[in-house]
């Protein structure tokens, strides 16, 4: 069997998938692999479909008992993960993470073919994809996965796939490439529709090529049908969702007066975590990339396609703060910067290799050696990252408590959660819950110590707040209204249950006082295991 350079892609995909999945892991016993709020709600979105057998509306516990609250999360990734969980019995927090990591790895495979077509070099493509597996520190290459932008990881796969089809169609002109591009747009619409914006110029280029290439009306209709049919139909079907649900969430995406302080490296979007920027990359990436760009610019006729795509991408990720009020989701696309930078580095390395008289096979060996050395160098920071992510928001003991809550507490009950509420993990109770922030708890403990009495008012964050990104409910056919977010001030008497975690001795003492006080107010202990205590109102228990 003839060896083809593209076969290198297969072990690279395996290595990449293994590394990505190994970072947080695929635990079968409890959702210990979820490290941030966003992935909690991604996993819950899968469970919601399994629990309710539908996607359109949120379960009642998400929207304060309302059963017609519109689901904001686009359905495709969650539905596919729900299918896998349904038929394999594997937990949702693993099936969705599995798909996310798989598609992140597949995206690298697609980059091989884009680079091979774009630069007409299997060597550049081979080195580029090897370095994409583990090229740099976590901020540069792993941003989307460790931050938890899971639906965007899958959407980015389809963005890259769309670029593949665009590059291929512009060279080959096959109609099936239009159909696949159409499928990519469909997938993006129902995975993370904001990512449609940057590919629209490429779609327009494809449409222009279709127009130029086709001469008869029949051919034109057939080709435009291939390019746009499914995506147009889906767009029309989802138009109410776009206007009233996603539109409500995306007011910030409309063009408007730009922010008075547009910044390239803004941290406010991500709660202090800096979006990936050019300065994340080391000098040995930036300098060869710059050299590549300059060299391509000099030969711009030969590289006009690549330069066009790179320019469009850089414009989206760095210039849009000057156009849109809040280009939050567009700036997240900086996570794809390695996909642009590493092929440019590979181009320089292979160009240097070409100056040496070597047999083609030896050039391949050299390229693979360079790639393996880079992988080896990247493994140390990967291991550090792995141990850094070892902590769990939901331990096995906590998961047992949450499972007890799901099975034993009525669905319309309200729970006050005093401790252990970090990163929105109480979503896995699947109940209406008021989460007390640590600062609020400290403030109340100080009040208790001083006054020896239970504070009346508590400020809570209502469970699944990040899921209720918009507050839209269906009031009739094609008719939508807003539903309110509950008042954040609540009293313990508003809750049927109170959840406490004895995280250390001091907290255990405070909780013991809470339990004693609540007993005198008609509560009783209903769960007490592994340092987790739940008290319930006697008529509710």
């Amino acid at each position: 069997m003839e060896f083809k350079a593209e076969y290198v892609v297969l072990p690279i995909i395996i290595v990449a998938a293994f590394l990505y999945m190994g970072l947080d892991g695929l635990p079968l016993t409890h959702p210990g692999n979820i490290k941030a709020a966003d992935p909690f709600y991604h996993a819950l979105a899968v469970e919601n479909i399994i629990d309710t057998h539908q996607w359109k509306y949120y379960p009642a516990w998400v929207a304060f008992g309302d059963t017609k609250a519109m689901n904001v999360q686009p359905p495709l990734l969650y539905t596919q993960a729900a299918i896998l969980t349904t038929f394999t019995g594997l937990p949702s927090w693993t099936t969705i993470y599995f798909i996310v990591c798989l598609f992140a790895a597949f995206g690298i495979g697609i980059v091989f073919f884009i680079i091979e077509r774009g630069f007409k070099s299997e060597l550049v493509a081979t080195l580029a994809v090897i370095t994409l597996v583990l090229p740099l520190g976590l901020q540069a290459w792993f941003y989307s996965i460790y931050i938890g932008l899971w639906i965007q990881v899958v959407a980015y796969f389809f963005v890259v796939a769309f670029v593949w089809m665009c590059v291929s169609f512009l060279r080959d002109g096959h109609r099936w490439q239009l159909w696949v591009a159409n499928a990519c747009v469909v997938a993006i619409i129902i995975t993370h529709p904001q990512d449609l914006i940057p590919i629209f110029p490429l779609w327009a280029v494809m449409a222009w090529k279709v127009w130029k290439k086709t001469s008869t009306l029949k051919e034109r209709i057939a080709s435009f049908t291939a390019l746009a049919s499914f995506s147009a139909i889906l767009f029309v079907l989802l138009l109410p969702h776009f206007i009233w649900v996603w539109g409500d969430a995306s007011q910030s995406m409309v063009p408007g007066i730009y922010s008075p302080n547009p910044t390239y490296y803004d941290t406010s979007y991500t709660g202090g975590l800096t979006l990936p920027a050019l300065y994340f990359f080391p000098w040995w990436v930036l300098i060869p990339s710059a050299i590549s760009i300059i060299a391509m610019g000099i030969q711009w006729r030969k590289f006009k396609g690549a330069l066009g795509v790179i320019s469009l991408y850089m414009f989206v990720i760095y210039a849009t703060p000057f156009i849109f009020k809040d280009p939050y989701y567009l700036l997240r696309m900086r996570a794809l910067q390695p996909y642009v930078m590493m092929p440019l580095v590979a181009l320089v390395v292979v160009s240097l290799l070409s100056m040496v008289r070597l047999q083609q096979s030896l050039k391949y060996v050299s390229v693979i050696i360079v790639g393996v050395l880079l992988l080896w160098a990247g493994y140390a920071p990967y291991s550090q990252l792995q141990s850094g992510l070892a902590g769990e928001h939901i331990t096995l003991q906590k998961w047992e408590a949450y499972q007890w809550i799901q099975k034993s507490i009525p669905v319309d009950s309200k729970i006050l959660m005093l401790e252990g509420t970090g990163q929105a993990n109480p979503m896995f109770t699947k109940r209406i819950a008021g989460l007390v922030e640590p600062d609020e708890l400290i403030r109340h403990v100080q009040y208790i110590v001083k006054n020896e009495t239970m504070p009346l008012d508590w400020t809570v964050e209502w469970n699944a707040l990040t899921v209720r990104h918009t507050h839209v409910r269906e009031s009739g056919f094609m008719s939508y209204v807003n539903y309110p977010e509950w008042n954040r001030t609540a009293r313990i008497s508003d809750f049927d249950y109170v959840y406490m975690e004895n995280q250390n001795e001091q907290v255990a003492n405070i909780n013991a006082w809470f339990v004693q006080t609540l007993k005198s107010e008609g509560y009783d202990i209903v769960y007490n295991r592994n340092g987790i205590v739940v008290v319930g109102r006697k008529h509710a228990a």
Binding site: E6, F18, L76, I83, T88, L90, V180, A183, V186, L237
Partner: protein, 134 residues
């Protein structure tokens, strides 16, 4: 006559093996096999049926199958939003089978007819005059 179908089946089987390797991170034999078979049945197979006739190389066909198979999940959107068909195991199986059957029907010329995949032409001597792939 069924050589294309057999070749597609061979490629699919190789892809299955590849998926097994990709699932090793699950670290549990049951989980590895289950996720492989589940993914292959509901995403890879419906994608493969449509991707194989595109006459690309094995790796490209595998990637295309994942693109198309995953995107097929769009079928659940109108079923859920407009027809309120419950998204339960029956629906998942029916939609997947519909995709596979439709793919086999639309591409029957490839699977059951005389249009041959380039790989098949290179590896197997033809007894009859092959149809040149476009």
């Amino acid at each position: 006559m069924l050589r294309e179908l057999k070749m597609a089946g061979t490629w699919f089987a190789i892809s299955l093996g590849f998926m097994l390797l990709l699932s090793i991170a699950y670290k549990s034999p049951y989980a590895i096999v289950a996720i492989t078979l589940g993914y292959a049945a509901f995403i890879l197979l419906p994608g493969y049926v449509w991707a194989y006739p595109l006459k690309q190389t094995f790796v490209q066909t595998f990637l295309l199958a994942n693109i198309i198979g995953f995107a097929w999940g769009a079928a659940y959107v109108p079923l859920d939003i407009f027809l309120r068909v419950p998204l339960n195991p029956v629906t998942f199986i029916v939609v997947t089978m519909a995709s596979v059957c439709l793919g086999l029907y639309i591409n029957r010329g490839t699977y059951f007819g005389r249009q041959h995949h380039p790989t098949l032409q290179q590896s197997t001597p033809e007894k009859e005059t092959p149809v040149n792939p476009s």
